[in-house]
Amino acid sequence: MAATETSSSNPSLFYRLFFDKELRSVTIQVITMALIFAFFFFIVNNAITNLETIGKGYSFDFLWDASNYDINQTLIEYDSRSPHWRAAIVGIINTLLVAVSGIILATIVGFMLGVLRLSSNWLINRVVYVYIEYVRNVPVLLHILLVHGIVVNTLPIPKNALMAFDGTLFLTNRGFYTPKPLFEPAMWAVLIAFVIGIAFTIWFKGYARKVQDATGKIYPVLLISLGAILLFPIIVFFLAGVPVNLEYPELKGFNFKGGLVLRPEFVALWLALSLYTAAFIAEIVRAGIQAISHGQTEAAFALGIKPSRTMQLVIIPQALRVIIPPLSSQYLNITKNSSLAIAIGYMDIVATIGGISLNQTGREMECMTIVLAIYLFFSLMISAFMNWYNKRMKLVER
C-alpha cells in the first residue's frame, strides 16, 4: 500500500526535482550555486597549483625588505632604503590625495555646471551642454594624457619658468612651485581660535534654531558662522604677529629647490579626473533639480517664503535625495579611475606596490592582493559614508 501511495502522490523525488514546478526552481538555483562555487574553486585551486608547480610560495615577508627604489612625490619620509610596506603607504597616500582632491573639485565644478546647464541664458546653457557632452564622451585616459601633454609640452623648462605674483608662483613643466609656509609655535593660538570658532558655530546654530522656534526671529546664521570660523582666527593670526615664515622656491642647478610643488603628473591626473567626473555630476545635479516639480516652488512662494530660502529649504533638500545615490558612484569612479595614474607616471598605489615592488620582488599574487584589498577598502568606506549621508537626507516618514 505504502509503495503505491508514494508513487501516486509522490512520483519519485528525483523525478519531482526536475519536473515539479516549485521544486524545479529550487533545483536550478542549487545547481547554479554549485557551478559558481565550482568555478571559483577551480580558479583559486588552479592559481595555487600553478604557483606550487613553479615553486613559488605565497608570503608577505618581502614587505619588510628594503625597496631599493626612489619615489618623486612622497608625503611621508621615504628613501630607497625604506621597506616595501613604506613604499606601499606612500602609494596609498598619493592615491588618497588625488582621489580626495578630485572628489572636492569634481563636486564643486559639477554642481556649478549642473546649475548653469539649467540657466535661462541660452548661450550659457548651450556652452555648458556642449562641454558636458564632449567631456562625457571621450575616455578618461585620453583626458589624462591630453592634460599631461599640455602641461609638459606647453609650459617652459625651469630655467625659463613663468613667474607670477612677484616671485611667489613659478610655472614650469616640472611642476608649479609656491612658497612653503613654515609655522612658528604661536601658530597654535590660531589653530585654537579656529577650533573655538567651530565650537561657537555649532552652539550658535542650535541657539538660533531655538530662538526661531520660540519667536520666529531669524538670525543671519551663515554670516555669523563665517565670522567665527574665518575672521576670528585671522584676527588672532595678526595679533600673534604673523607667526609664519615663507620658504621661497629657488632655481638651483637643474630644478627649483624648496617651496611647495605640484608636479605635472599630479596636476594632470587631478584636473582630468575632476573635469571628467564633473560632467557626470552636472547631469546628476540637473536631474535632481528637475525632478522636483515646479509646484513646490510655487507653493513655497504662495506661503511668502523668499526665493533664496525656497531653494535652501524646499528644493535642495528634496533634490539631494535624488542626487546622492548616483553621486556616490561617481565618487567611487574617481577613486578607481585614479589607478590610470600609471599611464603618466604618477606614483599611486598601482605604480608603487602594484608596479615597481611587484616587479622587483616577483610577488604578483601578493602585491595584487594588497592593491585589491586597498581599493576595496576605500570604495567600501566611501559607500558607507555616502549611505550614512543618504539616510540622513532621506524623507522622514511617519
Binding site: D70, N72, V152, G253, I356, G362
Partner: protein, 341 residues
C-alpha cells in the same frame, strides 16, 4: 532539458580543461602548436619592433626566429607577444609565452626567485645616461638635483637609486611605464636625463628627429648582461633554446654565414667544428630532441650572431653600436660560446 544539457556540457569542458593543464614539455607543445610564442618588447628600435610593413624585426626578434627555424623549420612561425618591463615575467611564467627575448638583465633574484632559467647572454650591456647637448653636462657626476626619466619594472631604477646614493647626489625620479612615454617626457623637457641600458639609449636616440642634439654620458653605472630566459623546470626546452643561442655565436666564430651554410651542409669539409654545426658530423640535433639540420635551419633563417648584430644594431644602422664587449673572444670581446661537441 536543454538547459541541463548545456550545463552538463560546460561542466565536462571545465573538467577537461583542468586535466589539459598537466601537459608535456614545452618543446612538444610548441611542435604540436606549430608556432613559437616569443615574448618580446612593445617596441625598442633595433632590438624588437614591427617594421614599416608590420613585420617584427630586430636583434632579439631574430633570435626568436632562429629558434622557430630550428624547432619548427620556419623562421616565420613565431607569434610575438609584446610585453612591458612589468608584464614580461608574468607572461612567461603563466605559459602565455614559451621563450623570453626582451633585453632582460640576468640577475640572481630573477634567476632564482622569479623561477626563470636564463640561457646565456646575447648582449653585454650597461646602464648609461643620455642628456641634451644643450645642457652642457659632460659627466654623470654633474647630475645632482636633476630630474631623471626611467622605465618602470627594470633593473635600471635600482641601479639609479644606488648610484645617486653612493655619490651623495639627489634626483627626482620620473617613473614611466613604456619606452615611448619616457621618450615623450624626455623630449618635452620633463626630465633632464633619460636613463636605461646603453644599447637602449642608442636605440631611443636613433628615433629622434635630431639624434645629434643628444649625447650619451661616458659613465656606465652597472653590468647589464642581457639574455633570453625560459620557465624554470623544463630542462629539455632550456637545452634546445640555449643551444640555438650558442650555435649562432659558435657559427660566427667558425666562419659559417647565412650565405655559405647551405654549402657546408651539403658536403662535409675538413673542419670538424663546421661539420658538427652543419650536421655532417655527429648527431647533435637528436641530443636536444631535434634532427641533424637544426642549426642549418637556424643559421639560414637569420645568419650567425655577427650578421644578426650588424643587420639590426651595428655601426651601419641608425643605432650605430660598435661590437665592443660583444665581439668574439678572439676579437677582443667577451662573447664566448661553449663548444658544440
Amino acid at each position: 532539458m536543454k538547459l541541463f544539457k548545456t550545463l552538463a556540457v560546460s561542466a565536462a569542458v571545465a573538467l577537461a580543461s583542468t586535466s589539459g593543464a598537466a601537459t608535456a614539455g614545452t618543446l612538444q607543445d610548441v611542435q604540436a602548436r606549430g608556432e613559437l610564442n616569443c615574448v618580446v618588447t612593445t617596441g625598442v628600435a633595433g632590438f624588437g619592433a614591427p617594421d614599416d610593413s608590420g613585420r617584427w624585426a630586430g636583434f632579439d626578434v631574430d633570435f626568436c626566429r632562429a629558434t622557430a627555424a630550428a624547432v619548427l623549420g620556419d623562421g616565420n612561425k613565431v607569434k610575438f607577444v609584446p610585453t612591458t618591463g612589468k608584464t614580461r615575467f608574468t607572461v612567461l611564467n603563466s605559459g602565455e609565452g614559451d621563450l623570453l627575448y626582451r633585453n632582460t638583465t640576468i640577475t640572481m633574484s630573477r634567476d632564482a626567485d622569479l623561477k626563470l632559467s636564463f640561457l646565456g647572454v646575447n648582449y653585454y650591456d650597461g646602464q648609461g645616461f643620455m642628456v641634451p647637448k644643450a645642457l652642457g653636462v659632460t659627466s654623470a657626476k654633474e647630475l645632482d638635483g636633476a630630474s631623471v626619466c626611467i622605465q618602470t619594472g627594470t633593473t635600471t631604477e635600482l641601479n639609479l637609486a644606488d648610484y645617486f646614493r653612493a655619490n651623495k647626489m639627489s634626483y627626482e625620479p620620473v617613473t614611466i611605464e613604456t619606452n615611448e612615454e619616457g621618450q615623450t617626457n624626455y623630449l618635452a623637457g620633463r626630465c633632464d636625463v633619460y636613463t636605461t641600458d646603453a644599447s637602449g639609449l642608442a636605440a631611443t636616440r636613433s628615433t629622434f628627429d635630431q639624434p645629434n642634439a643628444h649625447i650619451i654620458l661616458p659613465e656606465i653605472i652597472s653590468k647589464e648582461p642581457l639574455g633570453p630566459a625560459v620557465r624554470q623546470g623544463d630542462d629539455e626546452w632550456a637545452d634546445v633554446t640555449r643551444w640555438v643561442l650558442n650555435v649562432l655565436i659558435a657559427a660566427e666564430e667558425a666562419g659559417i654565414t647565412q650565405a655559405n651554410i647551405k654549402g657546408h651542409a651539403a658536403k662535409a669539409g675538413d673542419n670538424p667544428d663546421i661539420n658538427r654545426i652543419a650536421g655532417t658530423e655527429g648527431d647533435f640535433g637528436s641530443m636536444i630532441g631535434l634532427d641533424k639540420q637544426w642549426a642549418v635551419r637556424a643559421i639560414s633563417a637569420v645568419g650567425n650572431y655577427g650578421e644578426i648584430f650588424e643587420r639590426n644594431i651595428g655601426v651601419n644602422t641608425s643605432l650605430g653600436l660598435a661590437r665592443g664587449l660583444n665581439a668574439q673572444w678572439t676579437n677582443g670581446g667577451i662573447l664566448y660560446s661553449p663548444p658544440v661537441r
